[in-house]
Structure formats: structure tokens, C-alpha cells
């Protein structure tokens, strides 16, 4: 079955996962606030709905180890970038953002990154990035172990030394 292009009218890139069960979860979904949510995030008290959260909904539930595919959905009408996840605990994603002050004020989402650790021993990883200036591209790097750094893909993105394994749900052993 071939992938169809996806219409993303949100105006910003986001991630989607397909679990081994076939269930799909994407980063733009909204869901009802549960008792477990309130226990983990007391500040949600009074809220009925909340955004899907990688750490809250995938890492805390263990579903992060049941990811079969990790997709990057870019704005507009595009085929998704897809990473097949063959080994549990190797999928990750993050967003890079800049907040401005003094001469200009505001915030902009610089990039949405999805990634897969290819070598748990060395930390080598493959990423697909949707960047607000560079568009979509593949980026090979390291999650920042064994003296390596994740680095940067553009001069306006500060070099990233390492990613937090716990909030990503990465298991390297």
C-alpha cells in the first residue's frame, strides 16, 4: 500500500506515531484530561482537554517502546517523512524554538525533528527535520553520548550537545 500525501492545515510541522497495535497518535491531537494526567501535571486542574504530549502519552505509558513507525508531517500537502522503528526505545522527537526580546518580541518554531537511534552503543542516529527555512531533509548525527554532540543543521540553530534520554523515552541498554 503506498502512502498518500497528507493535508496539514495546522501551519506547523508535527509528529505522528503508528504503534505495533496499529493505533495512531499524533502530536496535534487533543484528548480529555484524566486522573493520571492530573497526578503527573497538577497544573491541568480545571482543564477538560489537553494537547497530546510525547512524554505524558508515550513515555509514561510505555507506548514509546511500541512505536513501529515515526512520521513527520510538514505544513501544506506533503508525503510524510517516515522512520521505521525496528528496535524498541530508539524513537525520539523534539521541537526547536526561539523566543525573542528587546528589539523584537515573539516566538517562532524553528524545527520539528524526528529521529531514530541506529546504534545504541555509539549513539548514531538518523533524523528527518522540517526546518522553517531549510524545508525537509535528512540529518545524520549522534544523540550526544560517548563525547559526541547532536550538533546543528543551520547557523541560526545553536549546537545541541546532547538529548535527554529520559524525557525522550530512549533506552540504550
Amino acid at each position: 500500500m503506498s502512502l498518500l500525501p497528507i493535508v496539514n492545515s495546522y501551519g506547523m510541522p508535527y509528529w505522528k506515531v503508528i504503534l505495533t497495535s496499529g493505533k495512531e497518535i499524533n502530536g496535534m491531537e487533543q484528548k480529555k484530561v484524566t486522573e493520571l494526567d492530573l497526578a503527573l501535571k497538577p497544573e491541568l486542574k480545571g482543564h477538560v482537554m489537553r494537547s497530546i504530549d510525547w512524554t505524558l502519552d508515550l513515555v509514561s505509558t510505555g507506548d514509546v517502546r511500541r512505536i513501529k513507525e515515526l512520521h513527520l508531517i510538514c505544513p501544506g500537502v506533503n508525503w510524510p517523512g517516515v522512520l521505521k522503528i525496528k528496535e524498541p526505545g530508539t524513537a525520539f522527537q523534539f521541537k526547536n524554538t526561539s523566543r525573542f526580546n528587546i528589539a523584537e518580541t515573539g516566538q517562532v518554531l524553528e524545527s520539528q525533528v524526528i529521529g531514530r537511534v541506529d546504534d545504541k552503543a555509539t549513539g548514531a542516529c538518523t533524523c528527518i527535520i522540517c526546518d522553517r527555512f531549510m524545508g525537509v531533509f535528512v540529518y545524520h548525527s549522534n544523540i550526544g553520548i560517548n563525547g559526541n554532540t547532536f550538533g546543528s543543521w543551520h547557523p541560526r540553530i545553536a549546537s545541541i550537545s546532547s538529548l535527554a534520554l529520559d524525557v525522550q523515552g530512549l533506552t540504550l541498554s
Binding site: L40, D53, N101, I102, A103, E104, T105, P155
Partner: protein, 252 residues
């Protein structure tokens, strides 16, 4: 998404003190137009109701010297003067404040750029006068700043660390007073605990400040920092040459 809902810059009100700071108002949140939500450097003579269009500029000095005042404006003519005085004499000047809704994915960093497009700085290159962006301040100049940015910064530890410990500075001077030529290539990484970093020039991701620890998820963060803006005889002229202060971070 687990981003901060609130991530703002707070100033210590000049009516307070270094020992007993007042951070309550106004906080400068991202966004706003027409002079709202601005940090403004300037000489003595501006007031809390001076609009952005009437803001008195700092005359270009005959030798490199610090701009003496920093104000925060929540609206075009609603401002508060900060405790900033152009020296390193006080610790409680500025702080980033993020709420407890974010899940950071790596350590944060801050610096300055000419515009929000984050163009790569060109050290030592001054734009033609009159300039209309922050490139003059960010790029610096050979004689005035040894090609470092005119704006210097220092940060107190990482703000909070991965365990959620908050680091708050005591009143007093911040290290050795910087000069117009202060700066070093690459990142000045703060201590992982509570201590002032060295002064660093803020020149894009060429020279910048990096937090020495990643912030704990879902935890309020106050990251204390100070700035000193210098001007000099070789800085470009212009009515709006302020740099863009950029806090960049990653979240899940």
C-alpha cells in the same frame, strides 16, 4: 506538545533594590506591536510614559562606554525603569521566567541577533548609517570591541537543574566588570550549580551563553542573567538598532 505557555523576561524594578528585588511588573512576554512588550536601552531623560517613537537615543560617545539605563514597557507608554545601571555592580537585574508546563529536551542557550530571522553575524562589519536593525551591535567593530558584540551578558548557573533545584543569586557584583572588548569564541557554559558565568559577548551562536544543566521537566524556572550594552565611536547610527535577544531551547 510540552512547551512553556509562559516564558517571559522579568526586570528588577529600579524602585526596589539588589538585596530585595521586585520582579512583579511588568513582565515582558513575547509578542506585541507598536511599542508594547519592549526592553529599551537609553540615556537618562526617558520616562515611564515615553513612547517608542519618542524614545531618546544614546548619543554615540567619543570612547567606548556603557548605555546607562534599561526600561521595560508592557505597552507603548507604560514602562518601568530597571535596576540596571550599565555596570556589573548588581546581581538582580533580569531573569527569564518559564512556567511548569514544558518538557525540555536539552540545555537552553541565549544570545543576540540582528533580527528574528537569526542571520549569521559578520564580526566587525558595521552596516551603513542609518541602520535599521541590530547588526551593528551584534557584529561589533574592530577598534571598539575587537569584533565582539557590543552587548555583553552573564548568567547565574543554569537557572534550575535536572533535579529541579532553583539557583538564585545573592546581591552584589557580577564578576569582573566587562569592557567593550570582552568576549570569547563559542559558548560560555554556566556552572551546573549556582555561580555567575564569565561575561560573554552575545553574537549569535558564534559567541553565546549555554546553560550548564538541562531544566527539569514540568518545573517553574527562573534563569537569572544580566546585560551591559556598550556603545562606541565606531558603532553605526540609527533610530532602531536594538538587537534581538534570543532564548533558544528544545522540548518534546
Amino acid at each position: 506538545m510540552a512547551d512553556f505557555t509562559t516564558m517571559e523576561v522579568q526586570i528588577n524594578n529600579a524602585s526596589a533594590s539588589d538585596a530585595i528585588p521586585n520582579w512583579t511588573a511588568p513582565a515582558i512576554a513575547p509578542g506585541g506591536t507598536g511599542g508594547a512588550n519592549e526592553l529599551r536601552f537609553g540615556p537618562a531623560g526617558n520616562t515611564a510614559t515615553t513612547g517608542s517613537g519618542a524614545w531618546q537615543g544614546f548619543p554615540r560617545p567619543g570612547s567606548v562606554s556603557a548605555v546607562p539605563e534599561l526600561w521595560a514597557f508592557s505597552a507603548d507608554t507604560t514602562g518601568v525603569k530597571s535596576l540596571y545601571d550599565g555596570t556589573n555592580g548588581k546581581a538582580n537585574i533580569l531573569r527569564f521566567h518559564g512556567d511548569n508546563l514544558a518538557t525540555p529536551a536539552s540545555a537552553a542557550q541565549f544570545s543576540c541577533f540582528a533580527t528574528s530571522a537569526l542571520p549569521t553575524p559578520v564580526p566587525g562589519t558595521q552596516p551603513s548609517s542609518p541602520s535599521t536593525d541590530g547588526s551593528g551591535i551584534v557584529n561589533g567593530q574592530t577598534t571598539d570591541t575587537s569584533n565582539h558584540a557590543y552587548l555583553k551578558g552573564a548568567a547565574y548557573g543554569p537557572g534550575i537543574d535536572a533535579a529541579g533545584t532553583q539557583y538564585t543569586p545573592s546581591a552584589g557584583a557580577i564578576g569582573t566588570a566587562p569592557s567593550g572588548t570582552t568576549g570569547s569564541a563559542g559558548a560560555v557554559t554556566t556552572s551546573a550549580i549556582g555561580a555567575w558565568s564569565a561575561w560573554q559577548d552575545l553574537q549569535g551562536w558564534t559567541d553565546y551563553i549555554l546553560a550548564g544543566a538541562q531544566w527539569k521537566a514540568l518545573t517553574t524556572v527562573f534563569w537569572y542573567f544580566s546585560l551591559i550594552l556598550f556603545s562606541g565611536p565606531n558603532l553605526c547610527l540609527g533610530q532602531n538598532i536594538g538587537p534581538v535577544l534570543v532564548l533558544q531551547y528544545n522540548y518534546t
